[in-house]
């Protein structure tokens, strides 16, 4: 789907507002100053997603997913390359994490970080849409995104590359929002009506 420059900027801004809220929440939690930014977004079809260089760069990933239903349906996923996940969790808990042992406890730490970030983004979008959504409980998984059953009904994927700046460290993850086509159209229509009008 082609977006106008205005729609793209508005969507990027909304997502940045969401990750800004998430950063405030994360700052309450840890001893490090954390800053989050989403420099840009991409809109791709599920079919084309497998050819996307951002996605292909992740041979294995840790992800947190949360389904949403309401005026628009879909799945929000935060996906980290495993190495980024290891670094991020290590910084959050002030402990060096061996790459081979992203154990249950650390997985739930990452699930909480993903939960905070996705809630920030989804909160920002649903506020703008003045829309009431129901959410599933976030699920943590370590597998390749293509093998996740989350996007069976989705047709459009919004990929937002998120940068986590923690002290001098920059860790990268990807926020992916899988929308059914109608849902994405509704989102863009709402942006046209409420932001760009």
């Amino acid at each position: 789907m082609n977006l106008t420059a205005g729609q793209r900027d508005a969507l990027t801004e909304l997502i940045n507002i969401g990750v800004g809220h998430a950063a405030s929440t994360l700052n309450c939690l840890i001893n490090h100053k954390i800053r989050l930014s989403v420099p840009g977004i991409e809109i791709v079809t599920v079919e084309n997603m497998k050819h996307n260089p951002t996605i292909n760069a992740m041979s294995s990933a840790a992800s947190v997913s949360m389904k949403f239903q309401g005026d628009f349906d879909g799945t929000a996923t935060l996906m980290f390359p495993l190495e980024s996940a290891r670094i991020l969790v290590g910084v959050l808990i002030d402990e060096e994490v061996d790459s081979t042992e992203l154990d249950d406890l650390r997985s739930s730490t990452l699930a909480e970080v993903g939960n905070i970030l996705l809630n920030g983004v989804m909160g920002s979008l649903s506020n703008m849409l003045v829309s009431k959504l129901d959410y599933s409980v976030p699920v943590y998984q370590e597998k390749w995104i293509q093998s996740m059953p989350v996007h069976q009904l989705a047709e459009t994927v919004l990929i937002a590359r998120a940068h986590f700046y923690i002290d001098d460290l920059c860790v990268e993850g990807n926020v992916m929002l899988f929308f059914e086509l109608k849902a994405f159209d509704a989102l863009i229509a709402a942006i046209d009506e409420r932001v760009l009008a």
Binding site: L29, D104, S108, T109, N115, N119
Partner: protein
Amino acid sequence: MKEQPTGGALSRTDQFPLLDHIGSGILAIDRDATIVLWNKNMEQWCGQSREQVLGQKLFELFPNTNADVFKIRIEQVLTGGAPVIFSAQLHHHMIPCLLPNGEYRTQLVTVTWLEDHQIALFSIMDQTEHVRLIEQYKTSARSLKAELDQRLKLENKNMQLATAIDQAGEAVVITDVDGRIEYANQSFVDQTGWPIDEIHSIDYFDVLIDKSDDNFSDQLKLSVKAEESWVGRQQLIRKSGSSFIASISIAPI
């Protein structure tokens, strides 16, 4: 204020009797943060009965939940927001539940808004044993790693020593107490003419010591068995049958 069923309505606890029979701690609050559900696990973990807890405000009964890290996100759920997770590593616990040893139970808490019931449901998983086992595993893993590192260091050191002995100009041979050769360095091979692949099949005292002095060979064997040292000069026999005089030092290992 205690929760009272009104107009014949069931209390929240009565509405969800199954929650008393699951392994997690369950509590629920309404939009005003009043506790409306408290299952049996919570009673047992916290030592507070349902009657004591129902009707009380969460943020007052458990003042630690008043901290921003909890309150802001719980309030987001109360306004119909997405579920929130409070992980054990970042929070340790949300609801203080003392263990017999005086420590608090480690908890993973998920808070979900139930629109149909207008309550926020807290599902609390006790991860205390889980954390203990993971820590135990990590301690064992660290200890094994330290032992492995130490062994590797020793192996490296042994390898250095073995290389030094292998390349030494003096002949060095190690035998068992019966005289069977276990190790011989290159100099020994060069001096005696016995190839390295045959050297382990020969007996030092029977094959290499000159038999013209039977007494000496037996005495040397006895010294070795008694773990005594011996230093002196002795005639040794090469594989070819020729002999040479060697200065020998024998020491027990």
